[in-house]
C-alpha cells in the first residue's frame, strides 16, 4: 500500500529553502524516523545538504552528549519532559519558524505546549506523539484486556513484562492506584502495588529488540509498550499483538525536534525539521516501518483509514485518558530509581 514518493516532487518543494549545502548532524534514537535511508536521500537530493546521524540510548546520554559537544549537533530529538531542562541549561536555542511550511498544520495544543515553549519561546517543534500503554499477544487472550489490572492477574503469574525504567514503573503504578502521573501523592500505595507486581514479572525489557524477542518466544504474553513500537511490531515484524490504551489512563509523550545552542547550520536544520513534519515523509514512514502519531494534523489525516494510529489513537475517548508526561525534578527521579532498584533486588 506504500506509495513511493516521486523524488522530483519533493525536490521542487524544497529547492527554494536551501542556503548553501551544509552537513547536518542529527542526534536521535537509532531507527527512529530521522535516519530512514529513503527519507535522508530524498532530503539530500532536494536540498544538497548532507545528513549524518549520531545515536543515544537514554535521555541522560542525549543530554550528556549535548553538554560535552557544543556545536557538534544541528538537530536533536528531545522528549517534551526534558525540553525545559535542556533550554534552562542553555543546551538548545529558540526556533524562529519563519520559512517552515509545515508549521501551520501542527496541532494547536501541541504547537503551544508549555514544555516545548520553555520560558516563552518555541524550543522544540512538535514532531510525533504517542502513548505508553501495553500490548498483548491476541492468541493468548479470548477477550481483549482493557485494564492495567491484567498485570496483577494471578493466572498470568510469571508471564507479564514491564520496561526496566523506574519513572515509567512508578507512573504506571500511579495510574493503577487512581493517581495522576504528574502529581503522585501516595507513594506508599505505589510501592505496595509494585511490590505485588514483582512475582508476576517474567522479565524486564529495555529495548524494542528485547520486547519483540520475548513476545515472539512467549516469555511474556502481555507487556507495557510504546504505541509507535507496537505499530512497528505489527507492521514491520508481523507479530500478532494488539495495543491497548488502559482504562485507568496511559502515559502520553510528545517528542520535539530542537536545535542545539551551538549549531552553525540553523537554516539547514530548520529545513530538515520541516521535512520531518511533512505529511509525505510521515505517511511513507508510517506505511513502510510504522510510526507514532504525527503532531501535524495534515499528516495524521493523510493516513489510510486502516492505519494503526487512526484506529487506536484516533478515537477521542482514548485520547481523553492520555496524560502527557511532564518534567520530573532530578531529585524525584533519583527517589523513584532507588525504589525501583530495591523492589528489583527483592529488599
Amino acid at each position: 500500500m506504500t506509495r513511493r514518493l516521486a523524488p522530483v516532487a519533493v525536490a521542487l518543494a524544497f529547492a527554494a529553502g536551501s542556503a548553501g549545502a551544509a552537513e547536518i548532524r542529527v542526534l536521535n534514537w537509532k531507527g527512529y524516523g530521522t535516519d530512514e535511508t529513503w527519507a535522508v536521500e530524498a532530503f539530500e537530493r532536494s536540498t544538497g545538504h548532507t545528513v549524518v546521524h549520531d545515536h543515544f540510548n537514554s535521555e541522560q546520554e542525549m543530554l550528556t552528549k549535548l553538554r560535552t559537544n557544543p556545536g557538534a549537533y544541528d538537530v536533536v530529538l528531545i522528549n517534551s519532559a526534558y525540553t525545559r531542562q535542556a533550554a534552562e541549561e542553555g543546551l538548545i536555542q529558540p526556533i524562529d519558524t519563519a520559512g517552515m511550511r509545515n508549521v501551520d498544520d501542527l496541532a494547536p495544543d501541541m504547537a503551544t505546549n508549555e514544555e516545548l515553549n520553555a520560558n516563552g519561546a518555541l524550543h522544540g517543534v512538535p514532531w510525533v506523539w504517542g502513548v505508553t500503554g501495553f500490548a498483548y499477544d491476541r492468541r493468548e487472550f479470548e477477550e481483549a484486556p482493557t485494564s492495567l489490572e491484567v498485570f496483577w492477574d494471578p493466572a498470568l503469574k510469571g508471564r507479564v513484562g514491564w520496561r526496566d525504567d523506574a519513572l515509567e514503573a512508578v507512573q504506571f503504578a500511579a495510574l493503577a492506584t487512581g493517581q495522576s502521573i504528574n502529581d503522585i501523592e501516595d507513594m506508599q500505595a505505589v510501592r505496595d502495588k509494585l511490590q505485588a507486581l514483582m512475582p508476576q514479572l517474567a522479565t524486564l525489557w529495555s529495548s524494542e529488540n528485547d520486547w519483540n524477542r520475548f513476545m515472539a518466544s512467549g516469555d511474556f504474553v502481555v507487556a507495557t509498550y510504546w504505541s509507535g513500537s507496537a505499530n512497528r511490531s505489527r507492521t514491520n515484524f508481523g507479530l500478532p499483538v494488539e495495543f491497548v490504551v488502559p482504562e485507568e489512563g496511559a502515559i502520553g509523550w510528545l517528542d520535539g525536534l530542537s536545535i542545539p545552542a551551538g549549531s552553525e547550520n540553523v537554516e539547514a536544520a530548520k529545513a530538515f525539521i520541516d521535512w520531518m513534519i511533512d505529511p509525505r515523509f510521515y505517511v511513507q514512514w508510517d506505511g513502510e516501518v510504522g510510526a507514532p502519531a504525527s503532531a501535524n494534523l495534515e499528516a495524521a489525516a493523510a493516513l489510510g483509514d486502516q492505519a494503526f494510529n487512526r484506529i487506536v489513537l484516533g478515537n477521542p475517548e482514548a485520547i481523553e485518558r492520555i496524560e502527557i508526561m511532564g518534567p520530573v525534578p532530578e531529585e524525584t527521579r533519583r527517589e523513584y530509581l532507588e525504589l525501583w532498584q530495591e523492589l528489583k533486588a527483592g529488599l
Partner: protein, 288 residues
Amino acid sequence: MRPPPSLRAREARGTAALLAPAYLWLTAAVFVPLAVMLGLSFLTETPFGGRDWAVTLGQYEDALGKPLYRELLRRSLLLAGEVTLWCVVIGWPAAFVLAKVIGPRRRGALFLLTILPFWSNGLVRVFSWAILLRGAGVIDWAVEGLTPLEVEGSLLFTREAVVIGLVHAYLPYVVLTGYLSISAIGDDLLEAARSLGASRWLVFLRVVAPLSLPGVAAGAALVFVPVAGAFMEPRILGGREGTFLGTVIEDQFTAVFNWPFGAALSFVLLAAVLAVLAVSAPAVRAAR
C-alpha cells in the same frame, strides 16, 4: 669512591625509560580522568550546566550506609567469587591439558582457539546465550531430544544464567594465564615427580599446582575484578534476578544524571575488590 656514572644508575634510567611510555599513557587516559571522577564523587551535584555543587561525603554515606547498596555490593562480590571459582575449576585443568597433554603440533592452534571467543561481540554472545537458555530454546530442545530428562521452565532470567554468561565470557583468562605459566614448567620436573612414584593426581597437586598458582591467580584476578562490576550479562540474562551493583552504577549514568553517586559506588566497589585481592594474595602465596 663510587665509580663515575655507575652502571646501576644507568640501568635504573633504562628501566624508567621502558616504564615511562606505558605509565604516562595510563596516567593521561585513565588515572587523571579517574582522579577527576574521584573528585566528583565528593560533590553533591555534577558541575555541568550551571548546577550549584558543594563538597560532601554524602555520596559515600549513602553508598556504604543504605542497606540496598550494601546488599548489592555483597551480591556482586559473591557473584564475582562464584564465577571466578567456576573459571578456575574448569579452566585450570584445561590449561594443564593444553600445555602438557596436547602435542606441540596442535597446541598452537588450540591455544589461539581459546582466545577467539573474545573477538566475537560481547552483546551478540550474550544474546546467543539468551537463545540457548530460553525455555523451548536450543538447549531444552537438545536435552529433551537426547536424554529422557524433562527440562521444566527455562534457565533464562535466573542467577544461574548470569553465572553461565559470565563464566563463558571470562573463562579464557584463566585458561590462558594458566597455560602460560604451566607451559614454562620443564617436562623434566614432571618426569622427575612421576619417577618418584607420584600418581598423576599427586603430580598435579604437588608440582604443577604450586608452580602454576601465580599464573592462575593472575588469571583469577582478571576474572574477579571486572565481573564484580558487570552490568551487561546481569541485565540481559538476569531478568529480575539481574540487579547487581554494576547495573545500579550504570543506572546512575543512564537513568539519572547522578555522576557523583555513580562514581562513589564504583570507587566503593573498587576498594572492596582490591581488599578481597589483598586478603587472598597472601593466601595464594601460602598455598604454594
